[in-house]
């Protein structure tokens, strides 16, 4: 037990120290984790052999990440990406693998080994690239989207690659491999099943020994189960759990969903990352999307961090310094080849300047899938063990260099492009939207008006029943407690232009306004107040606009009554406007005297002013209109009788 605690302590320590420092230095969190790993692994030697095992476990972070990416991606959007997914992704994998394999053939002699090396180095690091793109807010740019398409294709391409590698076995290596397999025990099929299963599928498989047709049937069945189950079963399930109002149960259910799908995929020899991604896409339209996102997010972050640390810790400095030149040359060579191909593809698919560079620089590394394929190839006698060690270093080093390339993009590419004239702005299709907290009668009307005006809205409510009703009439709404910062993040508060506070709880509404103003001072906050006291509290908390919920309705009712008793409608309208203006002035005036901690009846200054203002109000409604000095009454006042004599000069 203490051993486990010590390990956890070391890893957390390294992360907590290195990541904030790296971020402060502008290096990004990924490089911070990698440096932390190098520090506790090869440099200090605190952690050692267990890192490899830990890495397989941590790779589950990638599965979680793809689930989250899927949640952000609606099916329509995925469909729109199809040309890029197949075109860009397919060409990238084929061209990179081909080029590297050709070079490998020249250097190694065995074409089989060369092909395997080409395939495993053609893959990029989903973990590093997506994490960095998200961190820098580049996911929604054209370059980010293109990069994502390629990563997604690679994820799918791993499956046929795993099938291909055993065929490539080199006879001379088979003998050695047989020995190695004996020592390594299981592991081959576990890793082969994907980077996500922490040995989950090691001994289990539903498809061993099935014929081709039966296998295809099972696979299709599994995918259909994910899609249909995700669409039809998860909603009632989550709704049921949400009604229990236990947050941890919801979190557990979210994790269960992801783990379950990963397990299912592993059982049928599919990529768990792909399966959860699919589930994410299916749930992208669900009202529980933001809640799922904010529940899964911390797990993903921790596991990915752990994964990056293990990559850093796994760098074998002995081999590295022994063959320093070879490793460096190979790393730079691989990245140059991949970068060159990406650059060409970017041009072919007409990416614009900034996106083009982002695409080229972000995907030039080898990735975690490479580790998986490498281990599998070594076990299958396709790649000799010494070469395997070397390649493993190349992969790790290229991953280590990727954050550096991102820094280069930030510091060298972007400034130059920004100063260039006639550079069209990046297309970011996530526009500033409006978040509405509270989907009750108040929030609903606000939302309908905004939607009618073509403004994108995100509605949050903590009543699953409310959300359900809104969704039935086609309103984008999500289940969750709007006062939770992580949920606000998931709802896109960073990009929001305005926020409507329409929640039922008076105190939480004030707290929310205060929090929003403190964290997002530029965000415009429109708040619903229950009464004047609440309105003042909201105003003090930082609400830009605070409105009493029944004031306007009452005024309308008063006006309707005046018309009913025979007053001329336009006279009523003028009076209403005058009254409203007078009331607003009063509201602003009394705010200066208002003190929440002082009881109303004891606040003498306030009481006195209220009396004075009420008297003035009576004057508005009093009979003698000609004496009124209200602006609206002043309008359309006829000139005095006999005034024409003055004009006739």
């Amino acid at each position: 037990m203490s051993g486990v605690l010590f390990q956890v302590f070391v890893y957390l320590c390294a992360a907590v120290v290195a990541v904030p420092v790296a971020k402060r230095l502008g290096l990004g969190s990924v490089l911070g984790y990698l440096i932390a790993g190098i520090a506790i692994g090869p440099v200090l030697g605190i952690v050692g052999a267990e890192t490899e095992q830990l890495q397989h476990f941590a790779e589950f972070g990638v599965v979680l990440m793809l689930f989250l990416v899927g949640l952000e991606l609606k099916p329509q959007l995925l469909w729109q990406m199809r040309a890029r997914l197949l075109g860009l992704g397919g060409l990238q994998v084929l061209a990179s693998a081909g080029a590297i394999a050709a070079l490998g053939w020249l250097l190694l002699g065995h074409w089989q080994t060369a092909v395997a090396v080409g395939l495993l180095l053609a893959l990029s690091s989903t973990a590093i690239v997506l994490q960095t793109l998200t961190e820098k807010g580049l996911m929604a740019t054209d370059g980010g989207r293109a990069g994502f398409s390629v990563l997604l294709f690679q994820d799918v391409a791993v499956i046929p690659m795993l099938a291909l590698i055993p065929v490539l076995a080199v006879p001379e290596l088979s003998e050695i491999a047989r020995h190695a397999a004996g020592e390594a025990g299981h592991g081959a099929s576990g890793q082969a099943a994907g980077h996500g299963g922490p040995g989950a599928g090691a001994g289990l498989s539903l498809v061993d020994g099935l014929s081709g047709w039966a296998y295809a049937g099972v696979v299709l069945g599994a995918v259909a189960a994910v899609v249909l189950g995700g669409h039809f079963l998860t909603r009632p399930l989550f709704r049921f759990i949400a009604s229990s109002r236990l947050r941890e149960t919801f979190t557990a259910a979210a994790l269960l969903l992801v783990v379950g799908i990963a397990l299912l995929m592993t059982l049928v020899d599919l990529s768990p990352a792909l399966g959860t991604f699919l589930a994410g896409v299916v749930l992208a339209d669900s009202e529980f999307r933001h809640e799922l996102e904010s529940d899964i997010e911390p797990f993903k972050g921790l596991l990915l961090g752990l994964f990056f640390i293990t990559v850093g810790a796994g760098i074998d400095f002995g081999v590295l310094f022994g063959q320093l030149f070879t490793v460096l040359a190979l790393t730079v060579g691989v990245m140059a080849i991949k970068g060159g191909i990406l650059f060409g593809l970017g041009r072919l698919f007409r990416l614009r300047a900034a996106d083009h560079w982002l695409f080229t620089l972000s995907l030039a590394q080898a990735g975690e899938f490479g580790f998986v394929l490498l281990a599998f190839s070594t076990q299958n006698a396709v790649i000799p063990p010494e070469l395997g060690k070397l390649l493993s270093l190349v992969i790790a080093l290229s991953m280590l260099l990727t954050p550096v390339l991102f820094i280069g993009y930030d510091r060298l590419v972007l400034p130059r492009l920004r100063s260039a004239p006639d550079q069209p702005p990046d297309t970011i299709d996530e526009q500033g939207a409006v978040i509405i907290a509270g989907a009750g009668r108040f929030g609903q009307v606000v939302n309908r008006l905004l939607m009618a005006a073509g403004v994108r809205t995100v509605v949050l409510d903590h009543e699953a029943a409310n959300v359900e009703r809104m969704r039935q009439i086609g309103i984008r709404s999500f289940f969750g407690d709007a006062s939770r910062p992580d949920l606000l993040q998931a709802a896109g508060i960073e990009r929001a232009a305005a926020f409507v506070v329409a929640i039922d709880d008076r105190d939480r509404a004030v707290d929310l306004a205060e929090y929003l103003k403190r964290e997002y001072p530029d965000l415009c906050i429109v708040a619903r107040a229950f009464d004047v006291d609440h309105l003042y509290l909201l105003r003090t908390a930082g609400a830009d606009v605070a409105l009493r919920e029944v004031f306007d309705t009452s005024l309308e009712a008063g006006a309707a009554t005046l018309r009913a008793v025979g007053q001329h409608p336009f006279e009523v309208e003028k009076l209403k406007r005058a009254f409203r203006r007078h009331d607003l002035d009063t509201l602003n005036e009394l705010y200066e005297l208002w003190d929440h901690d002082l009881e109303f009846s004891k606040n003498r200054a306030l009481l006195e002013r209220v009396r004075a203002r009420t008297a003035a109000e009576l004057e508005i409604t009093a009979a003698d209109r000609s004496r009124l000095h209200d602006r609206t009454e002043r309008g359309w006042t006829p000139p005095p009788k006999g005034y024409t004599k003055e004009l006739d000069v």
Partner: protein, 228 residues
């Protein structure tokens, strides 16, 4: 306050402050008025008020508007021509702001000596705005209620600065020249380099803008190159 706005280029005279009261109920669809407004906004000494933006419910703040009038020497209504007159909010503005005792009548001298004119855009071609055309009257004749309003308020009335065929001005490439004229006009009014006495009887301000600016020092008068 400039007591003699009709005087021509007076070297060293304080710059006139110009108030452009802009009225367009559908600014997003405007092709001609929007570039004019943008150009006016960029000029020093010109205050532009988008009336529909400021009073979307027609609740015009009379005190604020009267204060604005007091603070400026040249008042301009900028608007598309709607049924041979201004859009509704400018009429509302007149009805409310030009009060007895402020703009006219006993003690109503707040506007005395100021200059007033309209900058309007008309859909019909210039040929339509004459006795023989389908609109039967010149644009100056059609705007006579405003002219008389100006006189009653003791203001100097200048003929309209008008753009004809406004719906096709952009596609026919006429808008840039009109905006340039607009900038020249406002600049000259501000700097006191417009020949106001000569402008007063004209049918339109921009019929021959060069002539109105000619008698003055060209370097001070027109930053925009004239002629050609």
């Amino acid at each position: 306050m400039s007591s003699d706005p009709a005087a021509g280029a007076a070297a060293g005279a304080p710059a006139r402050r110009i108030l452009v009261l802009f009225a367009h109920p559908s600014l997003t669809r405007s092709e001609a008025n929007r570039p004019l407004l943008t150009a006016a906004r960029a000029l020093d000494g010109v205050t532009c008020v988008d009336l529909y933006a400021e009073y979307p419910a027609f609740e015009i703040d009379i005190d604020r508007e009267q204060q604005r009038l007091r603070a400026h020497d040249v008042i301009c209504f900028q608007h598309p021509l709607y049924w041979y007159s201004t859009p509704a909010i400018l009429k509302e503005w007149q009805d409310l702001v030009l009060e007895h005792g402020f703009a006219y009548g006993a003690g109503g001298t707040a506007l005395h000596g100021k200059v007033f004119f309209c900058a309007c855009t008309a859909g019909g071609p210039e040929a339509a705005y004459c006795a023989e055309g389908y609109n039967h009257f010149t644009i100056r004749e059609l705007l006579q209620p405003l002219e008389q309003t100006a006189y009653l308020c003791g203001m100097t009335y200048l003929p309209p600065f008008a753009l004809f065929g406004a719906r096709t001005a952009v596609q026919e490439g006429r808008i840039d020249a009109h905006v340039a004229d607009w900038v020249r006009l406002l600049t000259a009014l501000r700097d006191g380099t417009l020949d106001i006495a000569r402008a007063e009887p004209l049918p339109r301000l921009n019929a021959d803008l060069d002539a109105l600016l000619a008698g003055t020092d060209p370097t001070a008068a027109c930053p925009v190159e004239d002629g050609a």
